[in-house]
């Protein structure tokens, strides 16, 4: 199953994003963002499955917690930004 990383401004945002998604039944795991994805050092994101991606983004945007960037997690663990 494909997963996506929704990048958040901070850990606090990632926590709030995760809680907002969990509230509507979407599993959203907080993880440290890979440095290759951020270029800024430590950052946090929430990981969601492909089937929940669209609903997750819509929910977060409505809550004012929209992701700053979105990455697809590839099979080898590397990430690729999606537009």
């Amino acid at each position: 199953m494909l997963h996506y990383l929704l990048m958040c401004r901070s850990l606090t945002y990632a926590q709030r994003a995760s809680r907002a998604l969990e509230r509507i039944g979407i599993t959203a795991i907080i993880t440290k963002a890979p440095k290759s994805a951020t270029g800024q050092g430590c950052s946090y994101c929430v990981k969601v499955s492909e089937k929940n991606l669209t609903r997750s983004i819509a929910t977060l945007n409505t809550a004012g917690l929209g992701p700053t960037r979105i990455f697809l997690v590839l099979d080898d663990g590397s990430v690729q930004e999606v537009s």
Binding site: T12, R16, I30, K32, G39, Q40, G41, C42, Y44
Partner: protein
């Protein structure tokens, strides 16, 4: 022991507070320093407390709730964010050194809007006259020495009308009096966690409504490759490891307060204050700083005696296991305003856990102390 020094630190806490501190110390690490379980437990604890405080003080976003070491730390952040050298800053005549010293250090042009004790109308008028042209205003909600409740809503309204950013020192009111951050429209409200919020020492909260400047620089667990502090809250103002155990305890203190009917704690403390004043006002040579209407006084009562110095009264009460504070209470400004700068006062400050029998005993002990002369 009877503890009546809650304006400095509340000693009696809900039993959940020390339990939460201990639990956090043994199970939690640091937020933003990894995604392992102890780090995420700490992150959850800190966010939960932020959300609770945001709800209690009506702050739109939990990110705008900043954890500090104490109110002084928060006031320093707020003042340093808004004030530069030679800026005109208006303060009330009841400010603590945690306001006046940072302003002095910045070499600000401080204008004191003095007003008579317990006179709310005069306080509003003093601010009305002083505010035009000010870069910023700082006002305590309640005088720590005299329990005078300043008319903060009216002062905030004046500041909004004149577009003067307002910093509120809620050290003596947070947890006791209603504080609506959004309605007041203040730029910052600073408060300790260890007084009316019933949390542990070493905790404080700063509510932020506008641009802020970090006072301490360092690791935040975010944007680590950058040499600059993040431009987003709360990270911008929270460098270094959080006092997670303190925050865990603070959350239990706030939970206790929120479980009480609105205004119940304030009414209880005020009733204790009035009962105490009524028992001691006949003592010869004793001056009470007391608002007989009780409209503008919280649960803090200052007294002074013609016959015995404030320090000696406090010392003798201390020997009888009654804990009060004497002196200037770190607020020479308030004592200059009231005219008690030479001697200071003896301050009795009450908490939700004090009882009327404690008040009876304290009043009779005070009578004995003063009658023995």
């Amino acid at each position: 022991m009877i503890y009546l020094d809650c304006a400095a630190t509340s000693l009696q806490k809900p039993r959940e507070v020390p339990y939460a501190v201990s639990h956090a110390m043994t199970t939690m690490a640091s937020p933003g320093r990894g995604c392992h379980k102890p780090a995420m437990m700490a992150a959850d604890c800190v966010l939960n407390c932020r959300i609770m405080l945001a709800s209690y003080f009506n702050v739109s976003e939990p990110e705008n709730v900043i954890f500090t070491l104490n109110a002084t730390h928060g006031l320093n952040i707020a003042i340093n964010s808004l004030v530069s050298e030679n800026d005109k800053v208006v303060i009330s005549g009841y400010e603590h050194n945690s306001v006046t010293r940072p302003l002095k250090a910045l070499n600000a042009d401080v204008l004191i809007a003095r007003s008579r004790l317990f006179d709310q109308k005069a306080t509003v008028e003093a601010f009305r006259q002083a505010l035009p042209g000010a870069k910023c205003a700082v006002c305590t909600h309640v005088s720590n020495a005299f329990g005078f409740i300043l008319p903060i809503r009216e002062i905030a309204e004046l500041c909004r009308d004149l577009q003067v950013p307002l910093i509120i020192d809620a050290s003596q009111s947070a947890g006791t009096l209603p504080l609506d951050f959004s309605k007041l429209g203040a730029q910052f409200i600073a408060m300790p966690g260890h007084k009316g919020l019933l949390g542990p020492q070493g905790t404080g909260v700063l509510l932020c409504g506008g641009k802020s400047k970090p006072l301490i620089f360092g690791g935040t667990g975010s944007n680590s490759a950058e040499n600059l502090m993040p431009d987003f809250l709360p990270d911008r103002l929270e460098a270094g490891t959080h006092n997670v155990a303190g925050v865990a305890g603070l959350m239990q203190g706030v939970k206790f307060i929120m479980s009480k009917p609105e205004g119940a704690i304030f009414r209880h403390e005020k009733s204790l204050c009035r009962a105490f004043a009524e028992k001691i006002y006949t003592i010869p040579g004793l001056k009470l700083f007391f608002d007989e209407t009780m409209k503008s006084q919280s649960g803090v009562l200052s007294i002074m005696s013609e016959r015995l110095s404030s320090d000696v009264i406090a010392e003798r009460l201390g020997k009888a296991d009654i804990c009060v504070r004497a002196g200037l209470h770190c607020t020479p400004t308030a004592h200059e305003t009231v005219g008690t700068i030479e001697e200071g006062t003896v301050r009795f400050s009450f908490s939700p856990f004090n009882t009327f029998s404690e008040i009876d005993y304290t009043a009779s002990t005070l009578k004995n102390v003063l009658n023995k002369l």
